[in-house]
């Protein structure tokens, strides 16, 4: 446990190859299984389209040949979902942060609310999504707002809990240290409590990232929505018989949106939380 500048994670290229190779192996196995299943069980193109035909479909034009490429349309809708999820994520994150700070300052409030907040995790919040969308739509709010509200709602719970746990995780001795310096409340917060809570915050943000994407997609499901990858999935499912590949493509893009969002949070964590091994 002596000092070593080389001990930074993800350093040597050899380990990177060793880490990536097995993952690629599993992905390749899955793809092989896909094609193998087609051969072995004789699945029709309708049941399980070949990987080649899915790639091919990416580059067909939409709207009977006049619209943009299908993949472009899918990615554009994926981007629309991503934007909404990000907006909700930011709003929900700030709200969660604010609540956590409030709870920290007023333990009475926290003692009462915290178990309830945890208990609320058992409530199927996603199930309320259609009502939020329909209700807000009826009030004349734009469609993106309802989606954002759902995404924000799903974000703020994990962030509140994670952040509060983080703010409280400063050790008694590190607090004594601040006291010995006669630090101001402001200094207590910015020099101790906030940095201590960052790893907790990022753990919560990672959970919230996928929740926000799922929330945005589910909020796209009620009839009337026009934009977003959720709409693409519904449409592709509806026209599955005429073009099954589109559904696989839509699901792939939905997955990309989720992983992309998650990846951004992980990247931010790597850039900000440097002190963790």
């Amino acid at each position: 446990m002596t000092y070593s500048a080389q001990g930074v994670p993800g350093g040597a290229p050899g380990t990177l190859v060793r880490r990536v190779l097995p993952v690629l192996g599993v992905v390749a196995t899955l793809l092989l299984l896909w094609e193998g299943a087609r051969l072995l069980f004789g699945f029709s193109e309708q049941r399980l389209p070949s990987l080649g035909s899915i790639v091919e479909t990416m580059f067909t034009r939409t709207r009977g040949g006049t619209g943009p490429l299908l993949i472009v349309q899918m990615l554009a809708n994926g981007w629309a979902t991503f934007r909404v999820a990000l907006g909700g994520f930011v709003i929900g994150g700030l709200l969660g942060f604010g609540l956590a700070v409030l709870f920290m300052r007023l333990p009475v409030l926290e003692r009462g609310l915290m178990p309830y907040v945890i208990g609320s995790q058992t409530v199927p919040i996603l199930a309320i999504a259609p009502m939020v969308v329909v209700g807000l739509g009826r009030m004349g709010a734009p469609a993106w707002l309802a989606k954002m509200v759902v995404a924000a709602y799903l974000t703020f719970f994990p962030v509140t809990i994670g952040m509060l746990r983080g703010l409280r995780s400063a050790s008694p001795q590190s607090l004594d240290l601040m006291r010995s310096y006669a630090a101001t409340p402001f200094q207590y917060f910015w020099k101790l409590r906030f940095p201590v809570s960052l790893p907790y915050l990022f753990t919560a943000l990672k959970i919230a990232a996928s929740a926000a994407v799922i929330g945005a997609i589910v909020a796209e499901l009620p009839s009337g929505a026009r934009e977003g990858i959720g709409v693409m999935i519904l449409n592709a499912a509806q026209y599955y018989n005429s073009r099954p590949q589109a559904l696989y493509l839509a699901i792939l893009v939905a997955g990309l949106v989720g992983i992309g969002f998650y990846g951004l949070v992980v990247l931010a964590e790597h850039l900000i939380v440097k002190w963790r091994t």
Binding site: T2, Y3, S180, W275
Partner: protein
């Protein structure tokens, strides 16, 4: 003692309220410590030695009696940043580099960045960590982390140094080396800070201190004060001198007396 006392305890009691009723941590403690003195507080766990130290630092308040630090209340002394503190764990902030950890108190006290940096680097060099300023704490061994913690406590030149079993988590070999290093840091500092050093190691207390305050547990009381007349500077050979053994034995006997008293009671 020719110099006026820098720290004074006058009939101090400390009672904690616990689930099983009140627990007396300190009973009628009176003690005065001279400026520049090195005091070791020793006793079995539960004797209130850490509480005594924490009262000086205004990390806790006495239930009755008075504590004066440089003629002020401990609260005022804390606001005046009169003491630096070192715990058993290094308590380095893991998100700060070693240098910025040492800078932390200076930062809080609003010193300019250039001065902070210079001061931190010179202290790190002094404790032998000159090359590790930009390392993160996790990259350092336990002994090195504790050195950084000592550098942090000394960074703003406090007149009092409170040390709560600072070497308690280190192995014996590192520990003895750190004791020697601490003494040389202390004797080279001008003005020499007053040190309150809590420990449960008898040889450590004898090797370091001018006076060893032996405490007895439940309720915590000052049992005896053993004057350590070993010559300074104390070096490796000091630990092998007959006088050292005599004093160690004396402290050990005093500690055993606290046991006997309680068994007899």
């Amino acid at each position: 003692m020719s110099t006026p006392p820098i720290i004074e305890f006058d009939r101090v009691n400390k009672v904690y309220q616990s689930g099983g009723g009140p627990v007396t941590a300190l009973l009628d403690v009176s003690l005065s410590i001279a400026t520049g003195e090195f005091i070791a507080l020793i006793g079995p766990s539960g004797c209130g030695k850490s509480t005594l130290m924490r009262l000086i630092g205004d990390l806790e308040q006495p239930s009755s009696g008075t504590v004066r630090v440089k003629g002020k209340t401990p609260a005022q002394a804390r606001l005046d940043r009169d003491y630096g503190i070192v715990f058993q764990a290094p308590v380095l902030y893991e998100w700060r580099t070693v240098r910025r950890n040492v800078e932390l108190p200076l930062e809080i006290m609003g010193r300019p960045p250039a001065e902070r940096r210079e001061r931190a680097m010179s202290l790190l060099r002094m404790v032998g960590l000159g090359d590790f300023g930009d390392a993160y704490p996790y990259q350092l061994s336990g002994g090195m982390q504790q050195r950084a913690a000592i550098a942090r406590a000394l960074s703003f030149e406090p007149s009092i140094l409170l040390m709560d079993e600072p070497f308690g988590a280190l192995d014996e070999i590192t520990r003895e080396r750190m004791q020697t290093e601490l003494l040389s840091l202390w004797s080279n500092a001008t003005p020499r800070p007053t040190v309150i050093f809590v420990t449960h190691s008898i040889p450590e207390a004898v090797f370091l201190a001018d006076r060893v305050v032996v405490m007895s547990p439940r309720p915590g009381r000052v049992q005896r004060i053993v004057l350590i007349d070993l010559p300074r500077p104390r070096v490796f050979e000091t630990r092998e001198s007959p006088r050292f053994f005599t004093l160690v034995t004396e402290v050990r006997e005093a500690l055993r007396a606290t046991e006997n008293e309680r068994v007899g009671a």
